[in-house]
Symmetry: C2
Subunit: 470 residues, 2 copies
């Protein structure tokens, strides 16, 4: 096999079991091949594992080879945006506004005092100083709240609380500290210009102006604004409904102690949690039934009720019943990706409504990596978000990192701030630690590009922090 793939036996296909024959050293926990065969390049297959994920299995059926970018592009191009729906403002929290919210009201609705003081006529206080105060008759007091019409004439003032309606005739509010605080008459020590400390009707939002624009994420401040203009419901981009299913004859439900050869269905839980974290309304269906007719029924019913269907499974063997059931529902493209871990991935739009279906590997670590790389951006696109991808940072690798040529590798790591600025990342997994436990300790994915086979300790590497909500 050459780097340009000219000796591929099937066009577009490359046996990825041989992907790691070129670079690297054996990982610590896997015994090295015996010295007798140390010269054989095939033995360096262990190199890229780092104890984490075995090389991709040789599949019986060659599947097309494609890059991470190609697969992601296909998904993001094909994923539809669900139609906007109207929700109560509190239910709209975290979603994107899907309408131009124009205020029918003025905010504030009436001229009001901006602070506690005396509503007065600017003319009456013009030129007042502490030495030569203006004296006004206090004709009443208004606090915030519903109030009838009030007015003042020349030489009069009304005591007002912040937020209280301004009496007709008044055009200025003199703060208490600029007066002697008098009750029957007040001595005013300053002559502010007309309009000072007055909030005019519509100053905040004028009727007919846009309060919240299309595409604005709705948070507490937007809810505040929507409520203020009298909107208790708002059109938003809805949370996509994501059904999460697991496939595999080895799977048993979480409450069933696994028998010989069986493993607990981990992925439907983990992927439902990840989908919810990404903003979806996730529905965990669980383990797909083995019986072909029932299997098809489940898939069809999930296509009817979902905006996106997510299936985790191995899909490696010939005659896989899930692959066959999916194929019967529409064009489903299984691909061998130039990606580590989890090279076998699939995408299609199935059923009468062409609902997007994404298949991710069954191995739990590979499943969550695939979720990060392909599913999370798709869910964010369905939510209408502009920023589909997690922010990445460049970090200093604390250890040497190895990666197979031609493959994009994702490693779990712990990224931390460097005392001198910037970031340092430590790959997780010295091989002696559990795969799932290692993933649970990670706070980032280290991304090593296709054309990089080695990052020296101290070299820069791309890191994708995995921040969860809260």
């Amino acid at each position: 096999m050459t780097e340009d793939g000219t000796d591929r036996t099937v066009p577009g296909y490359r046996d990825t079991t041989a992907l790691d024959l070129r670079s690297g050293t054996p990982v610590r926990d896997v015994p090295s091949p015996s010295p007798a065969v140390a010269g054989a390049p095939v033995h360096e297959t262990t190199a890229i594992d780092r104890g984490a994920v075995p090389p991709p299995p040789a599949t019986a059926e060659p599947v097309p080879l494609r890059s991470v970018e190609q697969h992601l592009d296909e998904i993001l191009t094909a994923v539809p945006q669900p139609d906007p729906i109207e929700l109560a403002v509190l239910d709209a929290q975290g979603l994107l506004c899907a309408e131009e919210v124009v205020s029918q009201r003025a905010l504030p609705a009436f001229d009001q005092a901006a602070l506690d003081g005396y509503a007065a006529r600017a003319l009456d206080v013009e030129g007042a100083t502490p030495a030569e105060p203006a004296h006004l008759s206090v004709v009443g007091e208004t606090v915030a709240g519903p109030s009838g019409p009030a007015s003042i004439g020349p030489g009069m003032a009304q005591k007002v609380a912040a937020g209280a309606m301004l009496p007709a005739g008044a055009d200025v509010v003199v703060p208490v500290v600029w007066t002697d605080g008098g009750m029957a008459t007040v001595a005013v020590h300053a002559g502010p210009l007309a309009g000072t400390y007055v909030r005019r009707a519509g100053d905040d939002v004028a009727p007919g102006t846009t309060a919240v624009q299309v595409g604005t994420p709705i948070g507490p401040a937007q809810i505040s604004l929507l409520a203020a203009v009298g909107r208790d419901r708002v059109q938003v981009r809805p949370r996509p409904r994501v059904a999460v299913l697991s496939a595999g004859s080895e799977l048993v439900e979480i409450s069933t102690p696994p028998g010989p050869g069986q493993v607990v269905d981990v992925n439907s839980y983990a992927l439902a949690a990840a989908a919810r974290d990404a903003g979806a309304e996730a529905y965990r269906w669980g383990v797909l039934p083995a019986e072909p007719r029932r299997l098809s029924e489940v898939l069809e019913s999930q296509l009817l009720r979902s905006d996106l269907v997510l299936v985790a499974g191995t899909f490696a063997s010939e005659g896989d019943p899930v692959q066959e059931a999916l194929a019967a529902l529409g064009p489903m493209q299984f691909s061998q990706l130039t990606m580590h871990p989890g090279p076998v991935q699939a995408f299609g739009r199935l059923g009468p409504d062409s609902v997007p279906v994404i298949c991710v590997p069954g191995e739990p670590v590979a499943a969550l990596v695939a979720f990060e790389v392909f599913v999370r951006p798709a869910i964010r696109m369905m939510l209408g978000k502009r920023q589909l991808f997690r922010r990445t940072v460049q970090a200093i690798a604390a250890e040497r990192l190895l990666s197979p040529l031609g493959y994009r590798q994702y490693l779990h790591g712990q990224v931390m701030r460097h005392p001198d600025g910037g970031y340092v990342v430590e790959p997780l997994g010295d091989g002696g630690e559990a795969m799932l436990a290692r993933m649970a300790r990670a706070n980032c994915l280290i991304v090593i590009d296709e054309d990089v086979t080695e990052v020296a300790a101290g070299g820069l590497v791309t890191v994708m922090p995995l921040l969860l909500g809260g």
Copy 2:
């Protein structure tokens, strides 16, 4: 009044309406005091507003003066942590684990192949090379899934898929690429050491070891691990139940067009959204009734059902019915804080269960600032989070910022990355824009400390980015 407050008329009290007499220039939208009084320092009161929030109102009753830190300390010291509860693992998402989860199971539960290949005895393949392969009889095939007992003897191999049970007698898996891929007999081209590509029972998690520790935030990776060890429920720190109430005779429900002097209840919506964003289970009660008996009933019933009660209101006037109703339920301390906006804040533990009650200002911008400063850390403490406060960054001020001496000021701003590294922050609000709309455009709070009165354009200032979930 002097800086050290020696001329306070009441001990611990300082008339905060005069807080801004020392520094600054008038804001753009508020007319300057007339030239006739330009020399009077009182006129510079307009300086700190920046069009955003008027100086704190003079209250009829002097209330104690305290710092932001003092008030926050009192709240965080008094806030209890709700008892752990057991939830289904998917409902535990985003919460902190409150138990030491010890695995009763081994992961994997059985010795298994780490990749597709041939299970064999290391002795039989020792020293094999492509030139001198070892020939083995293939006695069967095992795929992933439930399987009965199988075994191999000397000179035998079994074809195995990744995840399949290893037959008894086998101690190595030879990857397909290291063989001729034979079906009846297989020629093995390498002699890996015993244990190569074998995942032993318990390698991932051994029985009796801790899978998830107390205090671990539960995300998709932890849910994956919990499911793998057979846990469908887990003890967590629960979301605190937060009741959100608004107080004020001027308030009407969102669906009611406000009459003269009335305003829509914005805070119960905005604060419920903020509480939920902070991780609470928020319950929006709405506007408190005016009738004293009914008011007390509502407060009492909310104390019974909540871990924290949040009340937004102005609380400035004498004989405020809400203040009186609160006082009847326990010690409620109203304080004048050295804080802008929203100096009047309160905290107490009321009712038979001493439920914490936090009062924040009624002005919607000040209410959400107070939420950020006092309520969000309290909710995070109740959730058991170690990190109570938002991360702050230092940013270059794009404009000159003014702040009253002795007061900590919070300004809404927009922070962005500087092309040369670091951050730049622009204060929001040229005065011509709505207060609520300005807050809705902000992505950070600018925090100006008590002893700072001016930050020059280009100077460094502390910024608290307001990230929402997703």
